[in-house]
């Protein structure tokens, strides 16, 4: 069986990451932006796993586990914040939330 070359993984990772950035910058719904962040995180995860496999080094995988765990916690908090925001503002549109303007 022919192994999938490293480049492919990296390209996939870059594509997923770019989609995440694109989504984060262009979409105005806060939930979609939140999902885009998750996409970016997973794009990074893919490249970490790919290198871990390529270099036969488990440290990359350990790293990914940590990222997933932290991302889970972050998702919990993030969603809670979004819920609170939504209750206050009755909207999920980010341009409405500009109180921190200088």
């Amino acid at each position: 069986m022919m192994a999938v070359p490293l480049n492919w993984y990296l390209i996939l990772s870059a594509v997923v990451f770019s989609i995440g950035i694109f989504g984060f910058l262009t979409r105005k719904n806060i939930i979609i932006m939140f999902l885009s962040i998750e996409l970016m995180l997973n794009g990074v995860n893919i490249s970490l796993i790919a290198f871990s496999h390529y270099l036969q080094d488990l440290r990359g995988q350990v790293f990914v586990f940590f990222i997933i765990a932290v991302a889970a916690a972050e998702a919990a908090i993030g969603l809670a914040i979004i819920m609170a925001l939504f209750r206050n503002k009755s909207t999920a549109h980010v341009d409405e939330m500009s109180e921190m303007k200088g």
Partner: protein, 639 residues
């Protein structure tokens, strides 16, 4: 040693107790604390005098106060003959005046405050005279100045009183500036500020000169004159005398204690204490004698035309201080201290009598509105009469012995200006007798010239006031008997006692000359009294005619030679102008405010522009972040 510590620290303790607890708890009983403390100080002072008379002197450091490189200062005490005399003068006057104040200040709002300051003053004065180094002397010196300021401005709601307090403090700055410099020069020259090493090495600086602004000045003259600057300020000599007459705004016991008996004589004490330095410089001594003589004459001439009884006595004080400086200037330090000692009694007494008169007259000070008080206030009259006889140099009274000794030593001493200051001193004997008895005759003789209500109110002061008067009167009459000259069969014990500290110069005249001098001063004094009797009792219309005849001179004297006005134009107004137009107008407004306001304005301007970056739009931030990350990556790749 430890017993001696009680002398200054008991009044300090009384001050602390009164100032902390006086307002709430002690109130009208504040005098008990202060009087107990100062009376105990007096008892210890008497014991100290007895110790010193048996030959025990002491110079010991209590603890190190300042230690900085080679500069060491201790709180230390020097008990010698001079200190012992000063202790007796200060504690005796202070005790009696404390007691008198109980009656005089009765019912005053600031009763506890008054006694606290009086105790603090006594502490500072005692520290001043007991010190064994220049720094502690300076501490006491400034301390008494501060208390003087507090007490002159005691009736601080009255503008003239608070102004007078400020004036006293500011005028003293001029003198103390020189005094401070003098101490610095002493430290630079001798490497120490303790009396003992400074005075024992003083001889080594004879003939040394220092370059001052291109002139070579004798070092001894420089130090002596700088120290004398302090004396001129504190003892109200020309040209810094202006504060003392105004200081009469304070309560009368304060005038008696601070501005007659003790604080103002600190200048004389300083010169006497530092005589080892003054002796090295003939110039400095002549300056001291001439300033003393001029002040003596100047103040006496003003005193003869004033109408405010306290001011007359204040000018009299300035004039008498002039005598003490004459004595110091001709090298007769012992005689100067002798006059300081007798003067303390009769001058404190004069002031307290004036206070007693004020008390009866409900605060009236203008003697044109008095007259005939003799029959209402017999005790005050008698004591004031005796004090006036004493100050006029009538034989047998305290003032006679001390003044006569000064005049004789001025005439017969080796000082180059001796004859000149003797002449002025003798003229002033006449003036002194004249103005003192003018005061007596106008106030106590003749008919009462005030309102009917005032006449009804006239009464002798309570016992608590008259008893101190009587006790001080004993001093005013008899204090001189410890120093009766050899000529009159006495032992001149006073100056002999001070001899180990101050030296004991002998006059270079014959016995017949001494008799002649004494006769001249007695006759001049009696002539002054007689002239006053003639003008103010026999021919009461005469004073006005004389004033009319010599209108110009009268106006000049009445307005105190316009010195206050001259100072106002030469110093006060230019200073206020400079403060307003340079310090406020330029420095404050254009430099300090420019910096203080300019810096925050600049920061504000920058931040106003910078804050536009903060749009509050989440995706703007994200875009900037992404762009930044991209740039970093690009840079890394391209490198």
């Amino acid at each position: 040693m430890n017993g001696y510590l009680l002398i200054p620290f008991l009044p300090l303790a009384a001050f602390v107790v009164n100032i902390l607890l006086g307002r709430r708890f002690i109130r009208g009983k504040a005098h008990w604390v202060s009087i107990a403390a100062v009376a105990a100080s007096w008892v210890v002072s008497v014991a100290t005098l007895i110790d010193v008379m048996s030959g025990k002197t002491l110079d010991r450091n209590l603890y190190t106060w300042i230690l900085s490189g080679h500069f060491t200062v201790s709180v230390g005490f020097l008990i010698d003959q001079l200190t012992a005399v000063m202790l007796i003068v200060v504690t005796t006057c202070s005790t009696l005046i404390h007691i008198y104040s109980v009656g005089y200040m009765h019912g005053d709002d600031g009763y506890y405050r008054f006694f606290s300051y009086l105790s603090l003053f006594t502490f500072c004065m005692l520290m001043l005279v007991m010190s064994n180094n220049f720094m502690q002397l300076y501490f006491g010196w400034e301390g008494v100045g501060l208390c003087s300021y507090f007490l002159i401005g005691y009736y601080f709601r009255k503008k003239s009183a608070s102004d007078a307090g400020k004036k006293a403090f500011i005028v003293n700055r001029f003198g103390d500036f020189g005094f401070g410099l003098g101490i610095i020069v002493i430290f630079l020259t001798f490497g120490t500020v303790y009396y003992a090493p400074v005075f024992s090495h003083a001889g080594e600086i004879a003939g040394r000169t220092v370059n001052l602004l291109g002139h070579n000045v004798s070092l001894a003259t420089l130090i002596a004159l700088l120290l004398f600057c302090g004396s001129v300020g504190k003892s109200a000599q020309l040209p810094l005398h202006v504060w003392l007459p105004d200081a009469m705004e304070g309560p009368t016991p304060v005038s008696a204690l601070i501005h007659a008996a003790t604080m103002v004589t600190a200048g004389v004490f300083l010169v006497a204490r530092c005589h080892a330095i003054f002796d090295l410089s003939e110039t400095a001594l002549s300056v001291v004698a001439i300033i003393g003589a001029l002040t003596c004459l100047f103040a006496a001439t003003i005193a003869i035309v004033q109408n405010d009884i306290k001011r007359i006595i204040a000018y009299s004080t300035i004039s008498q201080l002039g005598y003490m400086f004459i004595a110091c200037g001709v090298g007769a330090y012992g005689a100067g201290i002798f006059h300081l000692y007798t003067h303390a009694f009769f001058k404190a007494l004069l002031f307290l009598c004036a206070g007693s008169v004020m008390h009866a007259m409900a605060g009236e000070l203008d003697m044109r509105k008095m007259g005939g008080l003799k029959k209402y206030m017999p005790v005050t009259y008698m004591t004031m009469l005796l004090a006036s006889l004493s100050i006029s140099g009538v034989p047998g009274f305290a003032g006679f012995f001390s003044k006569d000794e000064i005049l004789w030593l001025a005439y017969s001493g080796s000082s180059p200006v001796g004859k000149f200051v003797w002449l002025i001193g003798t003229i002033v004997v006449f003036l002194t007798a004249f103005y003192s008895f003018r005061l007596i005759f106008v106030t106590f003789h003749g008919k009462f010239r005030g309102t009917h209500e005032q006449e009804h109110h006239l009464h002798e002061s309570p016992k608590v006031m008259t008893i101190p008067l009587i006790l001080l009167c004993v001093g005013a009459v008899g204090a001189g008997w410890v120093g009766i000259p050899h000529l009159l069969g006495g032992g001149a014990h006073f100056t002999e006692f001070l001899g180990p500290v101050l030296g004991n110069p002998e006059g270079h005249g014959t016995v017949s000359q001494e008799w002649l001098m004494m006769a001249i001063s007695i006759i001049t004094g009696l002539a002054g009294i007689g002239f006053a009797y003639f003008m103010y009792v026999m021919r009461t219309d005469l004073p006005e005619k004389v004033a009319e005849q010599f209108r110009l001179i009268y106006r000049l004297l009445f307005n105190k030679y316009y010195i206050d006005e001259i100072y106002s134009y030469l110093i006060v107004r230019p200073t206020i102008w400079a403060a307003g137009n340079i310090l406020i107008g330029v420095t404050d407004r254009h430099i300090i405010e420019a910096v203080v306001n300019g810096v925050p304005e600049a920061i504000g301007g920058i931040s106003r522009r910078l804050r536009r970056v903060q749009t509050g739009l989440l995706q703007n931030y994200a875009a900037i972040m992404a762009t930044g990350a991209l740039i970093i990556v690009a840079l890394m790749l391209l490198r």
